[in-house]
């Protein structure tokens, strides 16, 4: 019931010991409370006067208070331990996410990862603070109570004991059936619920088509179907709760009737009979409480499992030791026979089917030596297939190709986010298995389609690579990145807050802020762009390009794009097709040769007014 990995958390043993002690005290308090109550009631039954009551009533009241204090104490201990555990887990999870890197994040999904961190920890807390005390109660209190009941009336004890397997049986059913049922229906269940949101999202479309009113009925029908599904899931759980309840109350009723019969026959005195009856509900209480919270804690259990799995997943290898001083005009980076596939999301046992079988087989055998940590991960189709690429000095290289040809993957590999399964990389003479190298990453700047903009001032955002940069340098960088005009229109200039919840910024402005970052940090000589302008409108793109061109001159630039206008401003173009380089060279020379580049240009349309090849 308890995740064994929980036991490794600091304070687990202490918390469990205290909980055990408190449960034990509570069990004794329950006995005391029931004893005092029974004794009082027996004296009432004997028609004794008020004078006979103080002692048993005091025993009852004292034990009652003690019992409630134990309850408070247990909750406090459980909550404290849960709080401490998740407070300790949170940074660990964050660090694990950091270590796993962007490619793992992309696979997992940003939303799902946020959910795991925030809601997952929340559910874990609920799980820990609910389950631990209740587990303890369930394993101690019924035993103590049963022993005492048995000593008073063995028949009642027997009834209670016999009810236990039934209860456990139904609790198991409750767990298994509900789990099966909800597992099976959960997806459908969610889908139906999401469908409502979808329908509302589609409302403008419906209105446009003039059918929005007719669709009202559909909303209702879908919701009603959702209701029936939900009721089916709830039905199972409630039926088992019913069974649980039923056997509990029935056992108490049977005990009462048994005791009544024995009393009539004179086989038992009033005190033991009443004592047994009063204790009977206490016997069932911890079990029922545990059953009641079972579902509430199920989510927490799964969440904890997800989190622990993440923490136990080895991080991709990372090279912190290689020394390298940065990219100079004479630097060289050489990729030789570099091959990369994404890990498959499915079960690791499924044999991977590489697109080129014999190459793949060779690779699979040798891969263990290059990336030993990932030997069990099965791979998807090859995305980069035996790339040979050399980059020199302040070269500007455009990587083009159809969508899915591996452009972004190559840029991510150069940034060190993707680790090649095969091939060698040589950086200024140093052979490296991958580029997840601290020294290398210190000198790159990665600018995706939507650059990272966080909640804070524009100046803070520009300072991201150099948090200590003085204001005047930030200002210069902002101006060089072409932000001056925009900043002039803002009342707070560089101090304007941006990011979620604050002033929104456009795609072009985000790109410029990312550029300003690069300019502020002179040590990032390598610029990696992944479709920087594709989503911008043509005029913004035009303006941004004018800012970008001078910056590109004294950097190594790798630009993945399908905007062909960049070709005239780069030194080299690399044409990718299905993960292979099919052509590379000076675009001015390659154009018009009828090769892969021309084919691509042709597919994209070209100048329809003047005709293609105006600048020949």
């Amino acid at each position: 019931m308890i995740d064994p990995r929980l036991q490794k958390f600091p304070g687990f043993r202490a918390a469990m010991s205290v909980l055990m002690l408190l449960s034990l005290v509570q069990a004794l308090a329950i006995l005391g409370q029931s004893y005092g109550l029974t004794e009082s009631l027996v004296r009432l039954w004997q028609l004794r006067s008020l004078d006979a009551l103080p002692v048993p009533v005091a025993v009852f009241a004292g034990s009652f208070v003690l019992r409630q204090l134990c309850e408070v104490g247990k909750q406090r201990v459980g909550t404290r331990f849960a709080d401490r555990t998740i407070a300790e887990l949170r940074p660990r999870v964050q660090r694990a996410i950091f270590a796993a890197g962007p490619s793992s994040m992309a696979r997992r999904g940003t939303g799902a990862t946020v959910t795991m961190l925030i809601d997952g920890l929340d559910q874990t807390k609920t799980y820990i603070q609910t389950v631990l005390p209740k587990m303890m109660d369930m394993s101690i209190i019924p035993v103590v109570v049963l022993i005492v009941v048995w000593s008073q009336s063995w028949l009642s004890g027997l009834v209670l004991l016999c009810a236990l397997p039934l209860l456990i049986f139904f609790m198991a059913i409750l767990g298994i059936a509900a789990r099966d049922k909800s597992d099976r229906q959960y997806e459908q269940f969610r889908m139906l619920n999401n469908r409502f949101v979808d329908t509302i999202l589609g409302l403008p479309t419906l209105k446009m088509l003039g059918v929005s009113q007719a669709y009202e009925r559909e909303v209702y029908t879908v919701s009603e179907r959702f209701r029936r599904r939900t009721m089916a899931v709830i039905g199972v759980a409630m039926t088992s709760t019913f069974a649980l309840d039923f056997f509990t109350t029935l056992s108490i009723a049977i005990v009462a009737v048994f005791l009544g019969n024995n009393l009539i026959g004179g086989a038992i005195a009033l005190f033991p009979a009443l004592f047994a009856l009063i204790l009977a509900p206490e016997y069932f209480l911890p079990i029922r409480q545990f059953g009641n919270d079972y579902h509430a804690t199920l989510n927490g259990k799964n969440a904890l499992n997800d989190i622990m799995t993440l923490l136990e997943t080895p991080a991709p290898p990372r090279d912190e030791t290689t020394a390298w001083d940065g990219w100079t005009p004479s630097s060289t980076l050489a990729l030789h026979d570099v091959t990369f596939s994404y890990p498959r999301a499915e079960e690791p046992t499924a044999p991977a089917k590489p697109s080129t079988p014999d190459r793949g087989r060779r690779r699979r055998g040798e891969r263990a030596t290059t990336a030993s940590a990932e030997t069990t991960v099965s791979l998807g189709p090859v995305v980069l297939d035996g790339l040979d690429l050399e980059l020199h000095g302040h070269e500007r290289v455009a990587v083009i190709g159809r969508s899915g040809s591996g452009k972004s993957t190559l840029v991510n590999l150069l940034a060190g986010f993707h680790l090649p399964q095969y091939g060698t990389i040589t950086l200024d003479g140093t052979p490296l298995p991958h580029l997840n190298v601290a020294a290398w990453q210190r000198h790159i700047s990665y600018i995706p389609q939507t650059p990272y903009i966080f909640h804070g001032s524009i100046a803070d955002n520009i300072r991201f690579y150099r948090p200590d940069a003085p204001d005047d340098e930030v200002c210069v960088a902002a101006n060089r990145a072409g932000l001056a005009d925009w900043l002039a229109t803002l009342p707070h200039g560089l101090d304007t807050a941006i990011g979620e919840g604050n002033r929104g910024i456009s795609g072009g402005q985000a790109q410029r802020i990312a550029l300003a970052r690069v300019m502020l940090d002179g040590s990032r000589e390598i610029l990696l762009f992944d479709e920087p302008t594709a989503h911008l409108d043509i005029e913004t793109e035009y303006e941004l390009k004018r800012t970008l061109l001078p910056v590109m001159r004294d950097h190594l630039v790798i630009l993945a794009t399908h905007r062909l206008h960049w070709l005239d401003d780069v030194d080299r173009v690399v044409v990718l097709d299905h993960g292979r380089i099919v052509e590379q060279g000076d675009p001015r020379e390659l154009k018009g040769r009828g090769g892969a580049l021309d084919e691509l240009i042709g597919e994209m349309g070209g100048n329809q007014i003047d005709g293609y090849h105006t600048n020949d």
């Binding site: 994040m105 961190l117 509302i200 109350t249 009856l277």
Partner: protein, 650 residues
């Protein structure tokens, strides 16, 4: 106190949506002018839904009155309670019976044992209590079961109706319909609010009503034995059922809200950090990364710790009240039931029946503590209704279009979201005749989409008029779906079959017509290849279709509807150039005989337009046939060269 599986799963789902909504959607923030709290600026209105900018003054008002104020003008909660009085009475009755049986079981058992201990000469003397014991023993779980099934079923049924109500309300909400780039977050919040209402019924209203019914029942039942004891019980229960809930409400007031705001903040910070992970990795600042949202987390944890401590102590206090009540019952029995043995046999019965009732009463305080949570949700929904009600457009007598569309005129149109904003359109005049293909270009946020919304009549201009065949579009709202087809960058594909998606606007369309439309958009071969053909399901939100295929499917939908005017709102943004070119070719071919008004951000593919209109600062800065502009206008030429991939300036 029991968390049913439903509420548990719903919680997760709500959280999921939260995340989906919390993520900063990269493209969204840019389009609109700064959110103002003006009348039509949708961005501003929706941010109120998030609750973050509700005025502090409002928050600090004395609790109860604020809640009463929310409930007085309610459209989402009380109406359903009122509508279903019989059903609800049944549910409350079942709930009360559950506890009656629980108490009854202990009562009859106690009596049975006490009476049996007097050694009656015949078992028949205790026959009635024996039967009752069994009956109550059976009754309690049965009623619990029935009550739960009934209440959940009823609540879910109400949820169905609430959803329809939300749908209906939003369908009349201009702000919602015209928001160019709707994020899921608004809907996430609204859907969450509906879930909250669901829990309001299940976790607050039902248990509280049952508890108050039982309060009366207990007072009366104890009164049968002794009125003074009954008075004592009444007062003690008043502490539990009136004082404790009030204190809880006072404590929780504002606290949930603060936690929610901090939580939202945490989501934002963490999501931002995660989206920027690559930048964090190349700067090696794992410690700072790990600290994202940590201060919010600590704040929430501290607040929750206080709350949990309060709840523990409150529950302890309530339990102590019950301890006093038990002692009171014992003393009461001693005083009033020790006259005869016949009376004394009831002493154990009376005292023991108190304990099962604790479960019934103890939940009320917590239920009250959650009222602020639900009130927040309720006020969002009510604010939505109020806004929609107050912005109902003036009814204009609707007219029919006299024959086919001949002209579309924008006549000196000026539009701004609020009077304070600079106008998005400033004295915009455009004359379009039937069959023309007009492209609209201009930087983001320049009101290109607004032009389409004005033409549709979703937005009304501050001055000027938009006319079709000389008839103002305001008077053509009933006919608009027959005049305009609209295709935007993310066409909505419903999670149903291909056929149902295309038939959406014309339910009676024959299969042959569908195939014809699919052929026109060059999707026929792909659909034929799908298992099931026309009846092949489109997976959720059209995930199974690629971006280009979705556009074609949406276009097929418009073609089947056969509208004379097609409005395109950047239908190819986000597509790669080759797909973009394919889609545009298909669109232009399929709409050859129709009028086309086309918002775009690229020049490539515009060669076939009859007229290109460049907007800047709400005015037309360039206008003409593409070939003419190319020859005459250097700026156009430079942009065109850039777009088709040639170096500019030559």
């Amino acid at each position: 106190m029991t968390e049913t599986p439903m509420t548990a799963t719903m919680g997760t789902k709500a959280a999921d949506e939260n995340v989906a909504g919390a993520g900063p959607q990269p493209h969204t923030a840019t389009r609109h002018a700064t959110p103002q709290d003006g009348s039509t600026s949708s961005t501003g209105q929706y941010s109120a839904v998030n609750g973050s900018d509700e005025t502090n003054e409002d928050r600090t008002r004395p609790g109860l009155r604020r809640y009463l104020r929310v409930w007085r003008h309610d459209h989402w909660f009380w109406p359903y309670l009122k509508q279903n009085r019989v059903r609800l009475t049944l549910i409350f009755l079942l709930g009360a019976l559950t506890f009656v049986c629980g108490a009854g079981l202990m009562f009859t058992s106690g009596f049975l044992i006490s009476r049996s201990a007097r050694h009656p000469y015949n078992i028949l003397m205790v026959y009635v209590p024996i039967v009752l014991t069994r009956a109550f023993g059976l009754g309690r779980p049965t009623f619990t079961y029935l009550e739960r099934i009934q209440s959940h079923n009823w609540v879910l049924h109400v949820v169905s109706k609430l959803r329809v109500q939300l749908y209906r309300t939003l369908s009349r909400d201009a702000a919602f319909l015209t928001e160019h780039e709707r994020t899921g977050s608004v809907l996430g919040v609204l859907a969450d609010d509906l879930d909250h209402l669901e829990n309001f019924y299940l976790r607050t209203i039902f248990p509280a009503v049952v508890a108050y019914i039982m309060w009366v029942a207990v007072t009366v039942a104890v009164g049968v034995f002794s009125w003074p004891t009954s008075a004592l019980m009444f007062l003690l229960l008043a502490l539990v059922l009136v004082l404790a809930p009030m204190v809880s409400l006072g404590f929780a007031d504002g606290r949930y809200h603060r936690e929610k705001v901090a939580r939202q903040e945490e989501y934002t910070r963490v999501t931002e950090g995660f989206l920027g992970l690559s930048d964090w990795v190349i700067t090696h600042r794992s410690d700072e990364f790990a600290a994202a949202g940590a201060s919010q987390f600590t704040t929430i944890a501290a607040s929750r710790r206080e709350r949990e401590t309060f709840e523990r102590h409150r529950n302890l206090a309530i339990q102590l009240v019950f301890g006093i009540a038990a002692v009171g019952l014992i003393v009461g029995s001693a005083l009033f039931l020790t006259g005869t043995t016949a009376h004394a046999d009831f002493a154990a019965a009376v005292v023991l029946s108190l304990f099962p009732l604790i479960d019934c009463f103890i939940v009320v305080a917590q239920a009250a503590a959650e009222i602020p949570l639900y009130t927040d949700s309720l006020s969002h929904l009510n604010a939505l209704t109020d806004r929609v009600e107050s912005h109902r457009p003036v009814d204009v007598p609707q007219r029919r279009l006299d024959g086919p569309v001949r002209t579309i005129d924008f006549d000196h149109v000026t539009f701004a979201y609020t009077p304070d904003d600079p106008p998005l359109l400033d004295d915009f005049t455009l004359h379009i005749t039937t069959g023309q293909k007009v492209a609209l270009l201009g930087p983001s946020g320049e009101g290109k989409t607004t032009i389409l919304q004005l033409l549709l009549g979703d937005l009304l201009p501050q001055s000027g008029e938009i006319r079709v065949n000389g008839i103002p579009v305001r008077a053509l709202q009933d006919a608009r779906s027959a005049i305009f087809g609209y295709l935007n960058q993310a066409p909505f594909v419903f999670n149903t079959t291909i056929a149902a998606n295309i038939r959406l606007g014309v339910p009676e369309a024959s299969d042959a017509r569908l195939w014809k439309a699919l052929e026109d958009v060059r999707l026929d071969a792909q659909v034929k290849a799908m298992p099931g053909g026309l009846d092949a399901p489109v997976d959720e939100s059209g995930q199974r279709l690629s971006g280009g295929q979705r556009q074609r499917l949406a276009l097929a939908r418009i073609l089947v509807k056969d509208t004379p005017v097609i409005l395109l709102d950047e239908p190819t943004i986000g597509l790669d150039p080759i797909t973009e070119r394919d889609v545009m070719t298909v669109i232009l071919r399929a709409s050859a005989s129709r009028t086309l008004l086309w918002v775009t951000h690229h020049l490539q593919g515009l060669e076939q337009a009859d007229c290109i209109v460049f907007l800047e600062h709400g005015r037309i800065v360039m206008q003409g046939k593409p070939a003419e502009l190319y020859r005459m206008n250097a700026r156009f030429r430079a942009l065109y060269h850039l777009d088709v991939g040639e170096s500019d300036g030559d």
